[in-house]
């Protein structure tokens, strides 16, 4: 476990740092993916096999989507032109180093509690039982948040909204659609 930690932890931190150093968007995406894969492997190392695999699978898909978006929207996707995409770099660096120092000091200053008992035989069962039992409210809240996200993302990303169709005061009938269709339109 110790050897794996000393391989995975520096890999996760270094690849996370390189995300903001690479110029090429493909390298940036792969670097972030490596960081997440190392973190997922650390979760598996800590005994959370199910959540570790979820992190790995989710991040692989997410980074593929992110790569497409980055190539689509970034003005210099291949990193062939040397350009700076930063603002207030020294201030950001100072804030992040200060945050790390503060967190690090807290980590070594606090007397952390020792584990009161043995870990459960099946962490996945423990998580499922919690989400379907005492943490049901959390699960329901997450479900509604995800549903609202889906609706919000579609509304934001759609090319034409209701004001395009029905006018500024939403009274235009029939709606102005580029292709006529539906009942009575």
């Amino acid at each position: 476990m110790t050897v794996l930690f000393w391989v995975l932890a520096p890999l996760a931190a270094a690849s996370g740092f390189m995300v903001f150093r690479f110029n090429s968007m493909a390298r940036v995406t792969i670097s972030l993916l490596v960081s997440f894969l190392a973190s997922g492997a650390l979760l598996i190392l800590l005994g959370l096999g199910y959540l570790g695999v979820v992190v790995i699978l989710m991040m692989v898909i997410e980074m593929i989507i992110m790569a497409v978006f980055m190539v689509a929207y970034m003005m210099n996707p291949a990193g062939l032109i040397q350009m700076s995409m930063y603002h207030n770099k020294p201030g950001s660096l100072a804030v992040s180093i200060g945050t790390f120092a503060l967190l690090g000091a807290g980590i070594f200053a606090v007397p952390w509690p020792r584990r009161p008992g043995a870990r459960p035989a099946s962490p996945t069962f423990q998580l499922g039982a919690a989400l379907m039992g005492p943490q049901m409210l959390t699960m329901i809240t997450l479900a509604f948040v995800l549903f609202a996200t889906m609706v919000g993302a579609v509304v934001l990303a759609t090319r034409r909204g209701r004001y395009d169709r029905f006018g500024d005061d939403l009274t235009r009938r029939p709606p102005a659609d580029p292709v006529r269709g539906g009942v009575g339109r």
């Binding site: 995300v19 959370l48 978006f69 995800l146 919000g152």
Partner: protein
């Protein structure tokens, strides 16, 4: 191996993500910084579960962080798409200038 080392890694990931979120101009790169910060939260919660409190609460925090990542990605890309479509910008500074 102990809790402090895992928490130090989590703090490092959080700080790196914070640096990216604060310093980057591109919306997509800011999202990457936020993802790294949440990655730190996930590692810290998993370490707590393993070393300090093997109750289900720490695992639930990991699930909440994962959902936060998914929400941030989906809404972030949708906002980037809406901004790019209406203003043809993908940088936060340009979007702020257009607001005034």
């Amino acid at each position: 191996m102990n809790l402090q080392l895992f928490l130090l890694l989590a703090a490092g990931l959080f700080a790196i993500g914070l640096y990216g979120a604060l310093s980057q101009q591109a919306i997509v790169m800011i999202m990457m910084g936020l993802e790294l910060m949440l990655n730190g939260v996930i590692v810290a919660a998993a370490a707590f579960w393993h070393y300090a409190a093997p109750a289900a609460g720490a695992q639930v925090i990991v699930v909440v962080a994962l959902v936060a990542m998914a929400v941030e990605m989906a809404i972030g890309f949708a906002v980037a798409t809406a901004l790019y479509r209406t203003r043809n910008v993908a940088l936060t500074d340009a979007a702020a200038e257009l607001r005034r």
